[in-house]
Symmetry: C2
Subunit: 361 residues, 2 copies
DNA sequence: ATGAAAGCGCTAACAA
DNA sequence: TTGTTAGCGCTTTCAT
């Protein structure tokens, strides 16, 4: 119970030498007995194991890593763990990694490229063999350089880089991309609204430059076009993601105009905010206005009303990322995997009001 | 772009020796220049830094750890990252750790003690200086032994152990506990229901043996007693936690009896399930039945209706855990910190129906 | 100011 | 079967 150190964790640990001494064998023998992959007589092994247990010995992972057979470590980096979507992806990565006996580290960047770089650097130092970057980004020159550097650096030591939901700056780069087909998903859900009879649909939550959102907006526009609507029929409000953004933007939009009968939200969180704003305005969903989301987060069915949305199997995305990355060495350059999505219909969509729309403000 | 290895991450990295050679200095000088805490002439240092950058050198964290000044690493272990509550705690830990320049690893156990042990073992091997175990548990003999072992083992190397929301088996043990006052929180929220006029209140989501839930049940009973109700007035259904459990249990309860006017849920997820079950039964909240939750997860205000619940600042719990653990070395034995909670009133509570209750089934 | 050398804890040849 | 030795990449005395 002594605790006289100022630095946590700086006291000496039991080493294999002590185990060896206690068992009356050499370090080499102790090592062999402990690792179990070399022939060691049962009697000797038992003595060694006993000594190790008595001393509560645990191997020093750093020493082990240094000499060669270090632990396999994967790293996921997300914007924040409290986002239900990212949490699910991280859980998928962690689960798949654990299944294979890999250690999994998760890092949060808060969306800051600087922190992302630091974290990747850190992972290189720690010898991570697999780095998974998750989430849409704005694809500017800085991004391209950053990722090209990660990819090259990681690849030079044989580590893998996978981009989840963000593009590879160049197909030649040694990185793997795994993502959902955002455009198809958005097209489908917008189509669902169109089929219900809606014609004036707004997209809430654009984020110009962000690859994921741009794709969803593109899908939204494509659906409109497919149904014979002119380009001017599209109305996208670029409020970005997050519940707060959705709440504010929807509130403002409602004050400004009511010339629409449905909204497709950039994701379920902005849908949550939108739903609240709509209720605050005294309107009912789906009677007055239909709303759809994106991602189908675990609590989307508990919204008021239960949200019709696009299901993106996030945990599967995480699992797929590690599975594919670890599968064939041939993955390296430019391999691109698209995961499918589908609509889940709940109660937030109805035909537009028969009077043709909301009462003008 | 060559990628002929079968083992990810097994290719050689640039070492400090190569940097030294390129800069025309010895390894020792290179090391000094790179670490920056030894006097090195500006000219020499510049050459070394240049060489390092040209080679894209990153130090080998394992070698560094081995020789002494390894990176400070904290580990949080939770049941699952996709639980909003745990995610927030993990985010708090990660944020506070990052603020101090520590690396943070999060592990998920799925609630399996076996995996918990393995993960702690792993963290010992990796040299974690701080491990934080989060979440209520059933406090049996196995638990006591397990934790006593963790505590002793970690302490023997000067590492810290903190228990978040779970008890220390013995105050003498070198572990720190930080938790919310579950009993007070449950007492307060139950009192809120009582004040609204409810007398027949059921607790949904007991988990006998689980310390956190038992404390909430105790708070619930205490509130009942304070309002002069006899012990028999208490009705707790032990369905455990999770949305699915709440959904099922509430559905069954409603089929069995309607002799109650309010329910306090074990946490917000079971409240979500209960809300759904109640709606499925054709009843309205709060007109027919009042419901309260526990934890105030981020989406609780988006439930139907917005949920009145107990706010437990989860992120702050995580931050507090690392802050306190790292503060004074005197923390070691038996220090116990209780964090306060408060009620957040939304729209899921109303006075009981004036006819005195639900229509008997 | 800088280099040579020792050594952190471990595993893997290489001998015996 | 077991022990001896070398060496992983780095920092740090100890000399120079």
């Amino acid at each position: 119970m002594e605790n006289d150190m100022t630095e946590p964790g700086s006291r000496r640990r039991v080493t294999i030498r002590e185990v060896a001494e206690r068992a009356g064998v050499s370090m080499a023998t102790a090592s062999r007995a402990l690792s179990g992959n070399h022939p060691v007589p049962a009697a000797t092994r038992a003595r060694v194991l006993r000594a190790a247990r008595d001393l509560d010995y645990v191997a020093n992972a750093h020493a082990r890593a240094l000499v060669g057979g270090g632990r396999k470590m994967a790293a996921v980096v997300v914007r924040q763990v409290t986002s239900p979507f990212y949490a699910q992806v991280a859980e998928g990565v962690e689960a798949e990694a654990a299944d294979r006996g890999w250690l999994c580290v998760v890092g949060a960047t808060g969306g800051d490229p600087q922190r992302e770089m630091e974290f990747v650097q850190l992972m290189r130092e720690e010898g991570a063999r697999l780095v998974i970057l998750v989430g849409g980004v704005v694809e500017d020159e800085a991004y391209r350089e950053r990722v090209a550097h990660y990819a090259q650096a990681l690849d030079s030591t044989g580590a893998r880089l996978v981009l989840c939901g963000r593009p590879a700056p160049d197909p030649e780069i040694p990185a793997l991309v795994v993502e959902f087909d955002n455009e198809a998903g958005a097209r489908a859900i917008t189509g669902h609204l169109l089929s219900a009879g809606h014609r004036r649909i707004v997209f809430l939550g654009g984020l110009p430059g962000n690859t994921a959102l741009d794709a969803r907006v593109a899908g939204y526009r494509a659906a409109l076009a497919e149904h014979g609507l002119p380009p001017e029929a599209a109305r996208v409000v670029d409020c970005g993601l997050g519940r707060a953004a959705g709440l504010r933007a929807m509130g403002e939009l409602l004050k400004e105009t009511r010339e629409f009968t449905a909204v497709v939200a950039g994701d379920d969180m902005v849908a949550a905010g939108a739903l609240r704003a709509i209720a605050d305005a005294g309107l009912a969903v789906p009677a007055d206005l239909s709303v759809v989301g994106y991602n189908d987060i675990p609590l989307a069915e508990d919204f008021n009303p239960p949200l019709t949305t696009v299901r993106t199997p996030a945990e599967e995305l995480g699992r797929a990322a590690v599975r594919i990355a670890l599968r064939d060495p041939e993955h390296a350059a430019g391999s691109h995997h698209l995961l499918g999505t589908h609509i889940v219909v709940r109660r937030s969509v109805a035909p537009p009001p028969t009077d043709g729309g909301l009462t003008p403000v």
